[in-house]
Amino acid sequence: MTEEQFLELVCKKKARDVVEILAATPLADRRRHAKVAAQLFRDTVMQWAAPPDAPKVRDRDAPSVAVLATASLGELKKLGFQPLPQKLGVEEVVRALSPEWVDDWVEAAIEQSPHLVSRFAPLWQAGLCKRPAGEAFILGYYAHFGRDLEGAGEASFLEEDVWRFFEVEGGGEFSLASHDKYAGGPDFTWSTRLLKYVAAGRLDRARLLDVSLDALQRDFGQFRAGWYSRFHAALEPTVDEMTPRADRYLALLASSVPPTVSLAMKCLQTLDKAGAVAPGALLEALEAPLQARQKSTVTAALKMAGSAARRDPALKARAASMVTRALVAEAADVQSKALDLIEKLGGAEDASVRSELAQYVDLAAPSVRDRLASLVGASAGAPQTEPDQVTGPREVTPVLPVATAEDALALFLAVLESPRDPLMVERAIDGVARFGAELRGDEKALSPLRKRAGQIWKAQGESRIRFILAATGRALAEGKTFAQLRREVSDKPTYQLEAAGKLSRVFLDRNDEVIANVLQDRSLPMLSTPSDDAGCIAPSDLVARMEVYRERGIDPGKIDLALGLLRLSAEGRPEALKEFAPVSEAERALAYALGADVTPGDIGVLWSAAWAARQPTDPDERIAALFTPHLPDCGTPADPELKIWKKEQDVYHWIVIEVPVSVAETASVDQAIPAMFFPIERDTYFYRDVCGHVFEDIAWSSLVRPNWSEPFHRQALLHMDTSQKLSDHFCLAFLEPFFRAGPAVQPLGAATLAYYIASEDKSVSTLAGEAVVSLLEEERLDAASFASAVRPFLMSAALPTARWTKGFAAIAATGPVGAAFVRQLVTLFLDFPPDETPRDMGGMLELLYELHVAAGAKLQNADALACLKAMTGGGKLAKFAAKLVQMSDAG
């Protein structure tokens, strides 16, 4: 058979005929066509859309059959074991072709995709191959509940395979737990099916009890282990059945899987009640559950420890000693229960128990600490009534410009790899401005930059800032203008340098201006380079830089200067103005920003920046008039308003945040201008991410207006999704300004902190808490303003209150300053009517109570006391409301 004949056969005949003809062809002849068959299979079956020049096949099973008839096992492996006819039975193909590799093929194909078990089953049932022995074969059962278990299949299942269910854990895709979870009802679960076999007497119940315990001992993952504990429970073992297995249950108490421990606890409770477990053995086995993370497990273990000591009074001392371990629990009520039991067991009179208890005094909850301290005869320490000394305003460190061309290049190469630190990025661009002209003459030195910037330019990547850095690097190394670079990508709509309405556009335009000077061999300081690590520019620095431009007769870049104005420090303006005699429009804009009364010119971007630099801003109709229609924060204060509410649809609800401004936002003729003022623009459904959507871009955006972060935090509020958990959450960058020196936190900044504390992403919530502590130490945040920020979130009931409780507890745990702040903060919340009490406030009140105890303080706020007194009902809320009232003078 020639290659053409072979191709014609496969393309034109039905698969069944292809099998018949190739089966009659000697194997050596068939093997000659293996490559052609494989290529045909790739072109026609492996691709969802065949390439235009691919041969047309009449029967899509025919190429698969052709591969099976011609390929070696290695060649099949290269095709990912995919050739498998869909309509034609695999049994028929294998029977006709009798491939020598059938056993290995079946094993490997099932290993790769356990779903194939049901497809291959007819082969071993017909004796055409060996029954696979690997784990994947069992996973096939997990994948195919509905697989035919009748006849021989059922017999081998009941005799052999089912017992391997208790050895093969499976993984993310295939496991008994995931099968049963998504089975669509109890009638379709493996658990029910096995129980039916037990009921019919076809599976050995005792053996199932044993093997399910074996499985629980195997360190399976929690989710998958859960199936085995549920199955064991579903077998409903009697006391007689559990008694001989008591040691197994005792051993399982040390499991690291909480559902396994719960099962063992329940069984042991039953055995304990029946007196069927030795108290001594039970007590020793309780060591692990007494220290479990789950409150319910510890509470149950405490009861069992008490029971063991009751049944055998000789164990009292040992039980008291053992119970001390439960004090590692964080919850005050658990600690309290442990102490109750220790006292009941006479542990307080036992020196060794007291010595063990002493280790927990410092860690005990404040409400338990005194009691514990008196038990061990120690002092609980004085209450922390006076907060530590606050550190005061953060010191700023000057940002020094790079000193040599070599340093400038090294720094630029470093930020090109990681532009996460915006100050370094700005220092690197300043280095280009100062030493770019000198570097241009050194081809060799620039060669690494040319290569690396070219690579990053090609890859584009997620970060706009990095991409623009690459463009800047290319411009420097290749002597190209940004206009030339733009032309390179003008036909690639998804690959543009400009990103409309984003702050990266400001970065781009500013760098464009810097490069334009460099390409004219000018060495100049960049106007917008921050003077210090707060991101601000000292007015005297900006004046001095402007004088360099004046002396050399060079017009400053508009965007560079505008950015410089936005970064102007609030300190030292009058002094700088005294020494400054403005001439040009750019200089007059600087003078205006410094406080001079000058008449604005007509360069909108400069005058709007100069206006924004004067904080607090008063409307200036002369500047507002430069924009038609008026733009927010361009001569007219934006006056943002925060709106928060809970939106509900069917069973779902979510939080909605909007921050409208008093001036309508519209696109401007110059997109760079509104970008500098953080506009809000909706794409189809979402607000445009003006600051970017990766850490690097947002971090750079945080430096645009370091003195006035409200517009930045407006974006922070709009772009946080509290349910999103990421390994490198981009919203962390929105918290960066809080860790730089700056003014007191403004309302949107406080709202950002309040909102971020409720993030499910632990990195975000933790960092927000740390930001709060840092701001407290610098006296930039007070309890009243933060309470105002948190209240609308809490009252919206859109997110669980427990998230704030946890966040506040973490803040309180940082020390006396944090504790005092949280005490005031929570007190200030308590001014709502009883019918508007946020859900889950009980935990918050417990925290407030513990903080008061720790400080030896009484709740004295009249509004808060009235609010607490009005709370009715039971549960934690009422319990701690009552305790707080009792501890007050009113109580």
Binding site: A410, F739, K762, G815
Partner: protein, 446 residues
């Protein structure tokens, strides 16, 4: 991913056996790298059977863990890479390395933890499957536990065969990391110690699930604190869930010692039980293997092997290698001994004991030396040298590579380079290929 095939050959399968007076943990030793030893390496009775069993379970758990899943990683590696046991005069050690190469664990059983009745110095792989790990959960405080390594076959037959053989493709970075983690440990300093209760509280506050945020652990008063921002003296930690392996054991420990390597940010977490210690070493990123840290590359690239040969001649299963004694015996300076020992460790011939503050001798049962030369950076530097790409300048050199000229300059004790690798890593992960090439060039000239 480059890998080498590792063969394990066990005379039997390891098993926890019920004996008339307790239990016997019979660990089968690998006969493919060490000859069969009559009576095996060890027969001993565990003085603290529950703690020894739990420690061994932890070693096995790390061996079977993959904290980061590179797409090409083979599941088989997880199932079949076995721990390494070393029997030496005063300590029996069990070492394991996670499949992702980011976590190393070692259980050191001092003489106070074992009543030894037979001991033969040596290192071997031990068969340690999930079945055995499960069985060890049943070992309690009151159990009498005999521990044997490589004693006569216990008659367990796996898959109908008396001999158990496994062939496992082990990634080169896994083997190299296993060896080089010792060098990272040698560069660690003690950061702080947490008492038992504080350590327990700390481990309990770590998330149960995967956590890849970079955090800093520090101590305020006696309590540990986790911070998202760098703290003075803080120990960096990403992937804190890797520490969960310590949680079941911490309640029985006297304390938790934390060490850190300030250059690589790797950290070691040592549970101190008095007579035994469980040491978990973590690279700062779960996706980074220790093999990439390359702290020794300069040394390897420029070494003539003389110091290493002299040191190797003095190795004799010491529990703690006395550096002064070694200097006297070899005529090397203390610095040469220290550098040579690091090279020996990277070759798999020594481990580092943080508690004793020194190296100990053992021979990893892998062909570590063969693969050291396969280091990609060393190979690339060699190629640059062959291509005559290095030229000297006043304060360093220029290295031509693919049409680019990288400048290497002296910066104090380190070199700087203009390549992207240096821009990303600085000097923290060893030298880049350009620096290596320059160093090799200088060595040749010398």
């Amino acid at each position: 991913m480059a890998s080498v095939e590792q063969s394990y050959r066990y005379g039997a399968m390891s098993e926890l056996q019920d004996m008339p007076l307790g239990q016997r943990l019979a660990l089968a030793s690998d006969a493919s790298h060490a000859p069969e030893i009559s009576g095996g390496f060890l027969t001993a009775r565990a003085r603290y059977p529950d703690m020894t069993a739990r420690g061994l379970r932890s070693v096995s758990e790390i061996v079977g863990s993959r904290f980061y899943v590179p797409p090409s990683m083979l599941a088989r590696i997880l199932r079949e890479a076995d721990p390494v046991a070393t029997v030496s005069p005063g300590v029996v050690r069990f070492e394991g390395f996670s499949a992702c190469c980011s976590a190393y664990i070692r259980l050191d059983l001092g003489d106070d933890a074992l009543e030894v009745s037979h001991r033969r110095n040596g290192t071997t792989n031990v068969d340690f499957g999930p079945e055995l790990r499960g069985a060890l959960a049943s070992v309690g405080k009151g159990t009498s536990l005999e521990l044997t390594i490589g004693a006569e076959a216990v008659g367990i037959i796996r898959d109908g065969a008396k001999i158990v053989e496994k062939k496992v493709p082990l990634p080169v970075r896994w083997i190299k990391g296993f060896a080089e983690v010792q060098v990272a440990m040698a560069g660690m300093e003690h950061a702080f110690r947490l008492g038992r209760v504080a350590a327990q509280r700390f481990l309990r506050q770590l998330p149960r699930g995967k956590s890849d945020h970079l955090q800093w652990v520090s101590v305020a008063g006696s309590m540990p604190r986790l911070s998202m921002r760098e703290t003075t003296g803080g120990v960096p930690l990403r992937g804190g869930h890797r520490l969960r392996v310590l949680e079941p054991l911490v309640a029985a420990a006297d304390g938790l010692d934390i060490y850190t390597n300030r250059a690589t940010d790797a950290s070691a977490w040592v549970l101190d039980f008095g007579s035994q210690r469980l040491c978990l070493v973590l690279n700062v990123d779960p996706w980074r293997g220790f093999s990439g840290d390359g702290g020794l590359l300069s040394r390897i690239a420029t070494s003539d092997g003389g110091a290493v040969a002299a040191i190797r001649a003095q190795l004799n299963w010491q529990d703690r290698i006395d550096e002064d004694g070694l200097a006297d015996a070899t005529g090397l300076t203390r610095e040469e001994v220290r550098a040579g020992l690091a090279e020996v460790a990277a070759g798999g011939l020594a481990g580092f004991d943080l508690n004793r503050g020194g190296y100990f001798h053992r021979v990893l049962p892998f062909d570590v030396e063969k693969i050291t030369a396969l280091n990609p950076r060393l190979k690339a530097a060699g190629k640059l040298l062959e291509a005559d790409a290095v030229s000297m300048t006043g304060d360093g050199g220029e290295i031509r590579s693919d049409g680019t000229t990288h400048r290497v300059r002296a910066d104090g004790e380190n070199w700087t380079c203009t390549c992207p690798w240096y821009a990303r890593n600085g000097s923290n992960r060893g030298p880049c290929k350009h620096v290596l090439a320059l160093e090799m060039h200088l060595e040749r000239q010398a």
